[in-house]
Amino acid sequence: MKRLVAFLRTVRTERRVRTDGGTADERSTAGRWRDSDFLQSAPFWGPPLVLMGLFVYGAIGWNFLLSLTDHSGFGRPDYTDLGLQNYWAMIQDPSIWEATRNTVVLLVVFTLACLAVGLVLAILLDREIRFGRTFRTVYLLPFALSFIVTAQFWRWMYNVNDGIINQFFGLFGLGPYNWLGDPRLVLGAVIFALVWQFSGYTMVIYLAALRSIPTAQYEAARVDGAGTFRMYRRVIVPQLRPAIVSATVVLVLFALKAFDFLYAVFDGYRPRQGSDILATKMMREGFNNSEWAYSSAIGLTLFVLSLAVIAPYLYTQYKRGNL
């Protein structure tokens, strides 16, 4: 009983509303600021941000400025007279439109082909097989090579007289074709080689996604009587959507900037007719023709096109809390 009285007293003390808590203003806000996680972590992300920011965003800003000048040839650009004339010139330049058309074809066909071939590879490897790891290593191998290297191999593959591709078509009494010289064939030939190099990449992305699907779902689909093909089409592939989206973003952005391979296959800035894309056109206008301002305008256009892909992607990733 005594304890209870004591208890009631404590409870009353505990629950007393306190009114003496208004000392917040006296605290030093400076000390709080100095100790804040923001400032303490700044030495870690600050320097990389500055270095990367200057080279990426600083350069893009500068590039935009350059695209408004009429800089060409040697010397320094004149930044006093700025205008959109280079963008007008682009619109009126038929070779830009041809490059745009080729870029779109490359982008669409290359991306779809990589997604499809990668899916086939991933499904073939997504099971218990001997040497599964070795097969994966082989299929991904081209992706580890430089475009300059693979371009040499494909020049040899596409060689008109002794190339393996023409020999293959020869078996069926077709050809020989001038794969890298014929304007009707060249873009397809380039895309084929790039798919060879990139399909291993999509395969790896798919395999990672397939692995995260619980085994129980495969079993459930089996028990439900679905065959292998139906199981993949109805149960598994729909769950690969996030993987398909992120792979598509990477592939599309690659297609927008593909330059190395074309430079190396054609030994210079001028791809054979029928395979000029915006990325090669930009490099040629600048580093071959010294039309710096015009080239910058094409470069900035490529940036805007990339942004049109990146921005929605990052936004949805952010909304889903994946960043």
Partner: protein, 303 residues
């Protein structure tokens, strides 16, 4: 790989399928082997071609190895001679740039992931977007910056020769553009680290930088391996910066990819065996790294 996870799914195999089972299996392996040939033949053909004499080149199939008297290492020797300078240069800028972007990427990822502050996702978005930007939209200001404003060869003329200055430019450039992907790779690991562990270290009295050095860094070693391997191949294989910052195949700072792009150019056409030998020599460092650490490379690709 996925083999283990999925194997259980196959044990439910329908009875009626069992007689067809072997046939499916054979078909599967045939497809896999066929694809292996498809993915390897450009490399294989490149290799056999590189050791052929001019006569053997004309007389043998492009994928068939040359006979004993049709084989030669002459092209390899010549290619190695031409590329050796480039191999050294590539190594000189690739290794420091790889290490620098890994370290800076890890630091940035730590500051943006394991220290909690408002607005860090916005800063991280800047990093991620940096992964995807086309180099075409920065390359002209970049060359102008190095050649007309920074002018390292001029300013550091007392300590660095002109070709060393070019290599330094390449190191800095590759580091700057490599930071975004490295940051993302490290962040993907740091996001899975136990937040309670970081808090425990804070309560143990460790400062933000001590936590990085004593807790996060030791735990990042596996990811450093992934980043090193991935970034090494990326920078080694890179061409656009070499082309624009170095400028000429004859420059003493020329990288191996740059020299390869113009190897053995002559009026009478391309010397294919020489090109193939050069391509293989250029690819060799990345091939070795890739074949030794295929799993880590795949991990770097995947994230």
């Amino acid at each position: 790989m996925t083999d283990e996870t999925v194997s259980a799914g196959r044990t439910v195999a329908d009875e009626r399928l069992s007689d067809r089972f072997d046939l499916t299996r054979v078909g599967l392996y045939a497809a896999l082997v066929g694809l292996t040939i498809f993915y390897l033949i450009p490399v294989q053909s490149g290799f056999v071609t590189s050791i052929k004499t001019s006569e053997a080149l004309i007389n043998t199939q492009p994928f068939a190895p040359p006979g004993p008297d049709g084989a030669t290492v002459e092209k390899w020797a010549f290619a190695f001679d031409a590329l050796s300078r480039g191999l050294v240069n590539s190594l000189v800028f690739t290794v420091p740039a790889t290490i620098l972007c890994a370290v800076l990427g890890s630091m940035a990822a730590y500051g943006l992931t394991l220290v909690d502050w408002r607005g860090q996702v916005a800063v991280f978005v800047l990093f991620i977007a940096g992964i995807f930007i086309p180099y075409q939209s920065v390359v002209i200001p970049l060359t102008q910056f190095w050649s007309q404003y920074a002018m390292l060869d001029h300013r550091l003329g007392l300590v660095l020769s002109s070709h060393q200055a070019t290599l330094l430019e390449l190191i800095i450039t590759h580091t700057a553009y490599g930071i975004p992907i490295c940051t993302m790779l490290f962040r993907s690991q740091y996001k899975t680290m136990s937040w309670e562990m970081i808090e425990a270290a804070r309560l143990d009295g460790a400062s933000v930088s001590r936590i990085y050095r004593r807790i996060v860094l030791p735990l990042s070693i596996p990811m450093f391996a992934v980043v090193f391997i991935f970034q090494f191949t990326q920078i080694w294989n890179e061409f656009l910066f070499s082309l624009t910052l170095i400028g000429s195949v004859n420059d003493p700072a020329a990288s191996t990819t740059l020299i390869l792009s113009g190897l053995g150019e002559a009026l009478e056409g391309v010397d294919y065996p020489l090109r193939m030998a050069g391509a293989l020599i250029t690819a060799l460092p990345t091939l070795i790294v890739y074949l030794l650490f295929a799993d880590k490379f795949a991990e770097g690709v995947r994230v």
